[in-house]
Symmetry: C2
Subunit: 245 residues, 2 copies
């Protein structure tokens, strides 16, 4: 729903048990602050892939010491947004096409599962909302607004998987999206032809969900939807030199 907010906040659901009222104090530690700040800059493209993340420099920018910054960077490394090299430093990760492939493949699997698990919990109101978003995406195609299209695309899929009852899977989906966000902002271009197909597939997905289709069927469709995006990228990527397999 909320662009950066949702992207930056898949945290809470991680390992929280049901322990009721605990730690109401979200005073925001320096470490959290640094984590959120750096992550936001990576996802929104301020720090693009290859950007060198110097601890001392970031610490100064944020007005904290290097210790919390280091912690934040290591956390981002664990999420795959940052590449860390011993005694050398951290850089924003993501230019490698191989990594893109890995990420997309992984996302197709976990997102497919998340969507299938969500499906039974998706109500008419959700479908209506998704449909509205998809309509806006169609407009973006006509007016050629790739940036907005991309943002709406995330909103659309959020509706599909946000009800996933398994927080672990949901977290994996969020991580995948975050990685893609950092990648997309630089290397990987918008492919109009694919975008057009994508909108049509969205509608098909919604119909499938409305029809109360089985989990297997929904999972398969969601997977294929993403695989198709990957294939489009590969085709474009190979178009110049190599022959498409």
């Amino acid at each position: 729903m909320h662009d950066t907010a949702s992207a930056a906040g898949p945290r809470a659901a991680a390992t929280t048990t049901r322990t009721a009222t605990q730690t109401p104090p979200h005073t925001a530690s320096k470490s959290e602050q640094a984590y959120a700040a750096v992550k936001a800059r990576i996802v929104d493209g301020t720090y693009s892939p290859g950007y060198r993340l110097v601890l001392a420099k970031i610490a100064e920018d944020l007005g904290v010491s290097v210790v919390p910054v280091r912690e934040a960077i290591r956390r981002l490394e664990a999420e795959g947004l940052v590449k860390f090299e011993r005694n050398v430093g951290a850089t924003v990760a993501g230019i490698d096409p191989t990594e893109y492939l890995y990420t997309m493949q992984t996302l197709s699997i976990v997102e497919g599962a998340a969507t299938a698990l969500s499906a039974p919990l998706i109500g008419p109101a959700d479908v209506a909302r998704a449909r509205a978003v998809n309509a806006e995406m169609r407009d973006c195609l006509e007016h050629f607004d790739p940036v907005r299209f991309t943002a709406l695309n995330q909103d659309f899929h959020s509706v599909l998987f946000e009800h996933c009852p398994n927080p672990h899977i949901l977290d994996l989906v969020h991580r995948g999206w975050n990685r893609l966000a950092s990648l997309r902002s630089s290397t990987f271009r918008f492919v109009p032809g694919r975008a057009h197909d994508s909108v049509a597939e969205h509608e098909a997905l919604l119909r499938l969900i409305e029809s109360g289709a089985g989990a297997d069927e929904i999972e398969k469709a969601a997977r294929l939807h993403r695989s198709a995006t990957l294939d489009a990228y590969l085709a474009q990527s190979n178009a110049g030199s190599l022959s498409a397999h």
Copy 2:
């Protein structure tokens, strides 16, 4: 030199060559050391769920300062092996049955995918090895050796998914197994009936792979294999502790 515009570093942008995933040229940092040590103690059960991980204490035990220990703990938290509470401390995670369910469900998905992706790369030698392991597991059933059975079970599945060409997925599988290891060592008991079925399913899986079955079919079988284990746990859990709060 002026590093203010270090965005496009000279050789930094060259990305990774093929340095795999480890740091062979170095000597093992304190942080890595602490991470490995604590993780090992959690997985092998020395630190069982609920155990309080006091930074200063662990630091002293390992002969390092608290900083690397803290980093190690946070990493373990990200992997779900440790629960961390602000200004309070860290404890070994894992007793919650709900978390067990989440973990198993997630693992069924990623492990199924990893197995399916591995299948085409599994050769006769691998199958033979897996079969030998499975035979040993059968022996363990007769002599009732749950500990060894569990270890062999991991060996068996390792053969199935270790060839997975997508390192991200493989990593997720490993994380799942680690979580289970920490859980299994305490709360979750060995279920003989289920173990017997499990061995039979292993053989069926091997036959499926030998037959060159499609990825979908293998994935489904691998998923069901794990789901069955989960179901067995749930059945036992419901039977044993009726209305256990």
